[in-house]
């Protein structure tokens, strides 16, 4: 052969096998070159592929393999050494790269495999989260529904609205077919169908309460699935449908008494109502857990709302009851007032009606006593007189007592001689006492004031009553009356702890003790003494007569005088002591001007009682002028006389202390003069006292005098004493309204 560096192939080129190899190599090369192209294309497309370097390597490996196979094509025929060289280089490179790639793949493939497992894991997780999301969403829906339902339910206080709303809202929320509420009847032995959703007027089905299914529901606080065939669920019109699932829940009916402070509502004392909920028939719906929870929550809310409504109903009922009672009480009060008024009117009328004939009887009988009578007749007349006196006293007592009870009795306060009162009582009681051979002694303390301010008549009545009782109940022995001013230490008597007298400047407490040696009183009878009409039943007292009112009246009087009265006794047969204290006023040294006829401070009787007092006398009538002047001169006054109003106005000056003017002469206006004098002397202390002398003191004259500013009126004729007292009054008080 020639020395060309050609390499001879192994096999002859025309062999069929060679041909096939040649074709396969061609296609392999093609594929090998296209795969990396595809890879590059798709890698470029996807942005995230992390193994670019690997791809590059792979690409290189494949390209080189392709190149190798491509170059192999030339080796089927005779080829030069260069081709063989290129082929070899290509193969070497291919070998290197593929080994590198293989080594690299050892690292990479486990990674790629784990990516796959991670992907699977994440997918599972995502599915789980989805599921949970679904759950939460349904719960939130439920919560929203509950809130809305509760809001609806609690927005009203009317029981029916509450229940109706509950059923309606539940029906809407849960898309129920039927929803019913069974309430326990009054007897508590049955459940009655009270409200339904679809049917407008539920017929009054009742179901006995002790069915097992009902017990089952009542004993659990959860919503319980019950069979559609049980009596409480059989309220739909029967159809050919497959009934939907039914759930029942208990609704506790709470009462106010269930909520004790230390005792939260115990479920054992409850009454329950039953709420039955039915899913639509022929739907494949099932009761879901969240729906059941919704139902339970609603049931509780309904219970609370119902109890509120019940409480409200109670309070409204109580308020109505109170209003009725108020009206009734008002009516009763008005009736009582009318009755009291009627009684007072009756008493007033009867008092007068009774007293008039009594007066006639007493007066005429006493007159009769004065005439000539046979002893028998005299006896009869005396009995009549005694009885009628008794009756008269009784009438007075009863009237007084009823007035005292009303509180309408008021004391007639006035200044009186205290000593005189006691002496009078003594004088009245002495005859009776001497008949019974009782010795009566009166002991007045030296510091007891002679005059006091109080109700003289009633004080005397009280003393007389007490002393009279002492005499009445003593058959023998002595009665001693002591009166003194109660000192403050003695005022607080241990036996009368509720009596706290407080002496003050103008008042003193008179304490009177009447001790007798009579039959005495047993201790248990003492409290009854002062009650009306109650008498001790011993025979001794039976004969004494009396209505039993005396001490009661005394007690009332003493109370009115802000005092206290009580009786002490050691027991039967040991006598008793009646003690009372009353508050009396101390009269002041100077007399009050508003009581014009008080007993005056003794005036001096000398002729010059008012030495040098300048007086003006105005009188048209000469004779009376002279008489008045004579009077005043006798009293020592310095008298100026005028006979006309002009002269009077001319003469009057601030030196004149008193002006006497005659106002009953017609035609001469004494009033005018008075007005002018008032105008003339603006300062009060300069103005003389103006006194009208008049022959009549009717109302008109008095009013006129007062109107023009006169200080007093004297009725003619004036006596010396009257003039004297008038002048002394006038000068002391500058006012005197009127002296008769």
């Amino acid at each position: 052969m020639d020395s060309c560096n050609c390499i001879e192939p192994q096999w002859p080129p025309d062999d069929l096998l060679m041909k096939y190899q040649y074709i396969s190599d061609f296609f392999i090369a093609l594929a090998y070159f296209s795969i990396p192209l595809e890879l590059i294309y798709f890698v470029k497309k996807s942005a995230v592929f992390p193994y670019r370097w690997v791809l590059v390597q792979f690409g290189a490996f494949i390209v080189l393999c392709g190149a190798t196979h491509l170059i192999n094509l030339w080796t089927f025929t005779m080829h030069t050494r260069t081709v063989a060289m290129v082929m070899t280089t290509a193969k070497v490179f291919t070998a290197v790269v593929s080994c590198a790639t293989a080594l690299m793949l050892v690292h990479i493939i486990p990674d790629l495999l784990s990516v796959k497992t991670r992907e699977l894991f994440l997918k599972n997780k995502a599915a789980e989260l989805d599921r949970e999301m679904g759950l939460i969403r349904t719960q939130e829906e439920t919560g929203r529904h509950v809130r809305m339902l509760t809001h609806e339910i609690r927005s009203t206080l009317d029981r029916h609205t509450i229940l109706k709303t509950t059923l309606v809202e539940l029906g809407r929320t849960l898309a129920l077919e039927e929803c019913a509420l069974w309430m326990p009847t009054r007897t508590g032995l049955e459940l009655q169908l009270s409200y339904t959703l679809r049917q407008q007027n539920p017929v009054g089905y009742t179901v006995p309460i002790h069915l097992p299914v009902i017990n089952q529901v009542f004993s659990s606080s959860h919503a319980v699935k019950i069979s559609p065939k049980c009596p409480v669920a059989r309220i739909r019109p029967a159809g050919k449908y497959m009934p939907g699932e039914v759930v029942a829940v208990r609704v506790p009916l709470l009462h106010l008494s269930n909520f004790q402070i230390n005792d939260w509502p115990e479920l054992s004392t409850k009454q329950y109502a039953l709420m039955v909920l039915m899913l639509p028939s022929d739907s494949a719906r099932q009761w879901h857990v969240h729906e059941l929870e919704l139902v339970e929550v609603v049931a509780d809310q309904v219970a609370v709302a119902l109890s509120h409504a019940a409480i409200l109903e109670e309070s409204m009922r109580a308020r109505d009851l109170l209003m009725e009672q108020n009206v009734a009480l008002d009516l009763a009060r008005r009736e009582a007032e009318t009755a009291i008024r009627a009684r007072n009117d009756f008493l007033a009328v009867m008092n007068h009606e009774m007293r008039t004939p009594m007066h006639a009887i007493i007066a005429l009988s006493s007159l009769l006593q004065e005439t000539e009578l046979t002893p028998e007749q005299r006896l009869m007349v005396e009995t009549i007189l005694k009885s009628s006196n008794l009756l008269s006293t009784l009438i007075n007592d009863v009237l007084d007592l009823s007035r005292l009870e009303d509180g309408s009795l008021q004391l007639d306060l006035g200044t009186f001689n205290l000593f005189a009162v006691f002496r009078e009582v003594l004088n009245l009681i002495k005859p009776i006492a001497s008949v019974k051979k009782l010795h009566v002694s009166l002991n007045l303390a030296p510091d007891l004031p002679e005059y006091a301010i109080g109700d003289e008549k009633r004080l005397m009545q009280t003393i007389l009553n007490v002393v009279g009782n002492a005499v009445k109940f003593s058959k023998e022995g002595s009665i001693s009356i002591t009166a003194f001013v109660a000192k403050s230490e003695l005022l607080r008597d241990s036996r009368t702890p509720e009596f706290f007298p407080v002496p003050s400047d103008n008042h003193f407490y008179l304490r009177v003790q009447v001790k007798d040696s009579g039959v005495g009183i047993s201790p248990q009878d003492i409290p009854k003494l002062f009650t009306k009409f109650a008498q001790t039943q011993s025979t001794a007292t039976r004969n004494s007569g009396g209505s039993g009112l005396g001490l009661a009246i005394c007690k009332r009087f003493v109370n009115l005088m802000e005092g206290h009265i009580w009786i002490e006794s050691e027991g039967l047969g040991k006598g008793c002591t009646a003690i009372f204290m009353v508050k009396l006023g101390i009269p002041e040294r100077s007399n009050e001007p508003k009581l014009p006829f008080m007993p005056k401070v003794p005036t001096n009787h000398g002729p010059t009682a008012f030495p040098g007092l300048k007086v003006l006398v105005m009188d048209e009538n000469g004779v009376s002028r002279m008489v008045t002047k004579g009077l005043l001169v006798h009293l020592g006054c310095d008298v100026t006389m005028v006979s006309s109003s002009e002269e009077c106005l001319r003469v009057v000056s601030h030196e004149h202390k008193v002006v006497f003017m005659d106002v009953c002469v017609p035609g001469m206006d004494g009033y005018e003069v008075a007005i002018r004098i008032n105008e003339k002397f603006t300062k009060r202390h300069e103005r003389p006292v103006i006194v009208a002398l008049t022959g009549n003191t009717d109302k008109v004259t008095k009013e006129n005098c007062m109107r023009v500013g006169m200080d007093g009126i004297i009725l003619k004729p004036v006596s010396l004493d009257k003039m004297r007292s008038v002048l002394s009054d006038l000068l002391e008080h500058r006012v005197l309204f009127e002296a008769i």
């Binding site: 048209e620 009538n621 008489v627 006798h634 009953c664 002469v665």
Partner: protein, 149 residues
């Protein structure tokens, strides 16, 4: 006559005047006003009364003789007379004046005339009586005694 007798006579006389209603307590008052400062008080007052009354009575007579009788003026005058007599204590005269006034108010001429007559009559009596009493008193004073009260 004896002083004591005179005094007794005076007392009896006075008592009878009171008893018969000619005088009332006002006269007693007058007497009590008389003292050593005013020894003739009573006499003075009574004299004044006499003068006043006579004047008034004359005027009343004249008024009633007129054609047109001025009742108002008459009323005023009778009022005066009433006042004077009551100041003295001339009881009967005073009472008649009251009646007189009623007639004046009623403008009853007949009644007025009749009343005037009565008043004059009574006045005459009381004047005589008082004058006698004063004479007695004077006699007592002249005899050196004092007037009993």
């Amino acid at each position: 006559m004896d002083l004591v007798q005179l005094q007794r006579q005076l007392v009896d006389y006075r008592t009878s005047l009171y008893h018969e209603g000619f005088l009332d307590e006002q006269f007693t008052q007058l007497q009590s006003l008389q003292d050593e400062n005013n020894p003739d008080f009573v006499v003075e007052v009574v004299s004044l009364f006499f003068e006043d009354s006579e004047r008034l009575l004359n005027e009343l007579s004249k008024a009633l003789e007129q054609q047109v009788i001025d009742f108002k003026r008459m009323d005023a005058q009778v009022h005066q007379l009433k006042g004077s007599s009551s100041s003295i204590g001339a009881h009967r005269v005073q009472k008649l004046c009251i009646v007189f006034r009623n007639y004046c108010e009623a403008q009853n001429v007949e009644g007025c005339l009749k009343c005037l007559q009565q008043v004059k009559h009574e006045y005459g009596i009381i004047k005589t009586k008082l004058e006698s009493m004063f004479q007695l008193e004077q006699q007592i004073l002249n005899a050196g005694g004092s007037i009993p009260v």
